[in-house]
């Protein structure tokens, strides 16, 4: 599917594209309607600076001419996800922004979604599905013991095709990063971490890891292991010293970190969140991350968790004595552990720091 291009160049880009066929016009109409709903949704983050930043990274990754055809909507959802509609409307979940570490990783994800758009994958998938559906109806009408077998085979062929599309999008995205000067190894790193986190979530819920499954019959994506391998191989020959843009990414996300961490903590996923916090703290534990870890342990409520939580809150307070939420968490954790005096002291400090806190009247009852 990829047009032939010499290394270091991108395949030619047609510019502003308009739907050509009946199928395509129908798909665009549906996508336009979906986009109208998302645009006005309460779940979309409209902050101008954050939106401008994502757009800037996309434009730097795929080039100005290409990014003009795309609108990005940032959706408040703690899961790791992003998706692309055929009319050029992209959704990026806040859960992805929490997990991504630098601009190169963000560029690889945005570039991957853009590649679906450029290669017009939705249309191809749609035609394939309709074709398979028609065949399945015929198979059903003809009856006989083989009908279910035929249907399963056809469903399989539809998903097989999606996997090929995902790989294609990965490879074009890797090409974008190469031309834009971003570190291409990051895409493999990102998938490695997502796979590890998924494993941790499964382990915490006493479920089986799916990472080493052979290519699943109904899997829509290449298995993470396969994906990590080919992405790493694609980046193996890149020159050293490529740009990651870690500082710029951190600065852009700083105002959002606390909100995104709070959304993650409320997902009831202890093991996955513990892994994620560890990854985010690779360059050191900040008061924000220590507080989040304190909350994670306090909310699990094992007696040993309360001891650990108190320690994390204390460390956060050592870094920032005015971290009010840590004082609150410390107070509640200590009260639950039976350390009444120290607990009340911390809660008093919280109420001194935030006298108008929404839960102040309730917490005040714990002080007497």
């Amino acid at each position: 599917m990829l047009a032939v291009a010499t290394p270091g160049e991108l395949p030619p880009y047609a510019g502003a594209y308009q739907p050509q066929t009946k199928d395509e016009r129908g798909l665009w109409m549906q996508s336009d309607e979906e986009e109208r709903i998302v645009r006005d949704s309460a779940f979309v983050i409209r902050d101008a600076a954050l939106n401008a930043y994502l757009r800037d990274v996309l434009c730097r990754a795929v080039g100005t001419a290409r990014c003009e055809g795309v609108r990005i909507h940032i959706v408040r959802d703690a899961a790791f996800n992003a998706n692309m509609s055929p009319n050029g409307f992209m959704r990026v979940f806040t859960g992805a922004l929490l997990r991504i570490r630098d601009e190169a990783e963000l560029a690889s994800m945005l570039g991957h979604e853009f590649a679906h758009f450029e290669l017009r994958h939705t249309l191809v998938g749609f035609k394939q599905e309709r074709h398979a559906h028609n065949l399945a109806i015929w198979a059903g009408l003809l009856g006989g013991g083989s009908a279910i077998g035929v249907q399963l085979a056809l469903i399989g062929s539809t998903y097989e095709f999606s996997r090929a599309q995902e790989t294609e999008a990965d490879m074009l995205s890797s090409r974008f990063l190469e031309v834009a000067g971003f570190d291409r190894q990051c895409a493999a790193d990102l998938w490695q971490r997502i796979a590890d986190e998924t494993d941790e979530t499964a382990r915490g819920r006493r479920q089986r890891s799916q990472r080493y499954d052979p290519v699943g019959f109904l899997a829509t994506h290449p298995t993470n292991l396969t994906r990590m391998r080919y992405l790493a191989a694609a980046a193996a020959d890149q020159p050293s010293g490529r740009r990651t843009g870690q500082e710029a990414y951190r600065a852009a996300m700083k105002p959002w970190r606390a909100l995104l961490l709070a959304d993650q903590l409320k997902r009831n996923d202890f093991a996955g969140t513990e892994y994620l916090l560890g990854q985010l703290a690779q360059d050191g534990w900040t008061e924000e991350l220590l507080f989040a870890r304190g909350e994670l342990y306090r909310l699990r409520r094992h007696p040993r968790d309360l001891v650990a939580a108190a320690r994390f809150y204390t460390d956060a307070i050592a870094l920032d004595p005015k971290h009010a939420e840590s004082q609150r968490g410390l107070g509640l954790a200590l009260l639950r552990s039976g350390e009444v005096e120290r607990g009340r002291l911390a809660l008093r400090r919280y109420l001194e720091l935030v006298p108008a806190a929404s839960d102040a009247p309730m917490l005040a009852t714990l002080l007497s």
């Binding site: 509609s85 994958h121 997902r267 509640l332 839960d359 309730m362 714990l366």
Partner: protein
């Protein structure tokens, strides 16, 4: 990084959480002036106006009432949630397990339990606790808290008020939810009147 597929969601909590097989016995009229035991428990209230009891229950020890239909105004009774139980039925135990009530919880832990349960069960990050203060429920020390939430693909902002207490290691709670526009302020007094009559036998 998938392309999106439309997801089907139902609106109201009891409708969403009621399983297809549970006794959907139809709705019943609750007549005013008499004590009514609710949520298969020893919790009773004396309604001062007519309410409709919904046949679909959100969970084992719960029951929902409404005036005009669950999406417009809904009262839910939690009649003694036991240790290590979820507030309502889990949508998917495997993919989206709900947090569980613990008999050792403090009253101040209840709003966080409700917030996390709603976020997971209703699949929304737009759920936050707005305020919490001390209160009394059936003669017991209780917590009253307000919250605001929006369901995905519906976009109507709703407010809620709940009063909760823990007696003998069980959670008893009454909650009221309605759209911010018009219904919440109009029907909140009817809910508070119910709460004032709550007794534990």
């Amino acid at each position: 990084m998938t392309r999106s597929f439309p997801r089907i969601r139902t609106l109201a909590l009891p409708l969403l959480l009621a399983s297809a097989t549970a006794a959907i016995a139809g709705n019943t009229l609750i007549v005013p002036g008499q004590p009514v035991a609710v949520a298969k428990s020893t919790l009773t209230v004396v309604p001062s106006r007519e309410w409709n009891k919904l046949g679909a229950r959100p969970g084992r020890n719960t029951e929902s009432w409404t005036l005009d239909g669950a999406p417009l105004n809904e009262v839910t009774f939690y009649g003694g949630i036991e240790n290590d139980r979820t507030l309502f039925r889990e949508v998917s135990k495997k993919e989206k397990p709900l947090p569980r009530f613990a008999a050792t919880m403090l009253l101040t832990d209840i709003p966080a339990l409700v917030e996390s349960s709603y976020r997971i069960a209703l699949d929304t990050p737009l759920m936050r606790i707005a305020a919490a203060e001390p209160a009394e429920l059936a003669g017991n020390k209780a917590i009253r808290f307000r919250y605001v939430f929006t369901l995905p693909e519906e976009e109507v902002e709703r407010q809620g008020e709940a009063v909760a207490t823990i007696v003998d290691g069980r959670l008893y709670m009454l909650s009221f939810e309605a759209p911010t526009i018009h219904f919440y302020d109009r029907d909140l007094p009817s809910f508070r009147a119910l709460v004032a009559t709550a007794r534990l036998q």
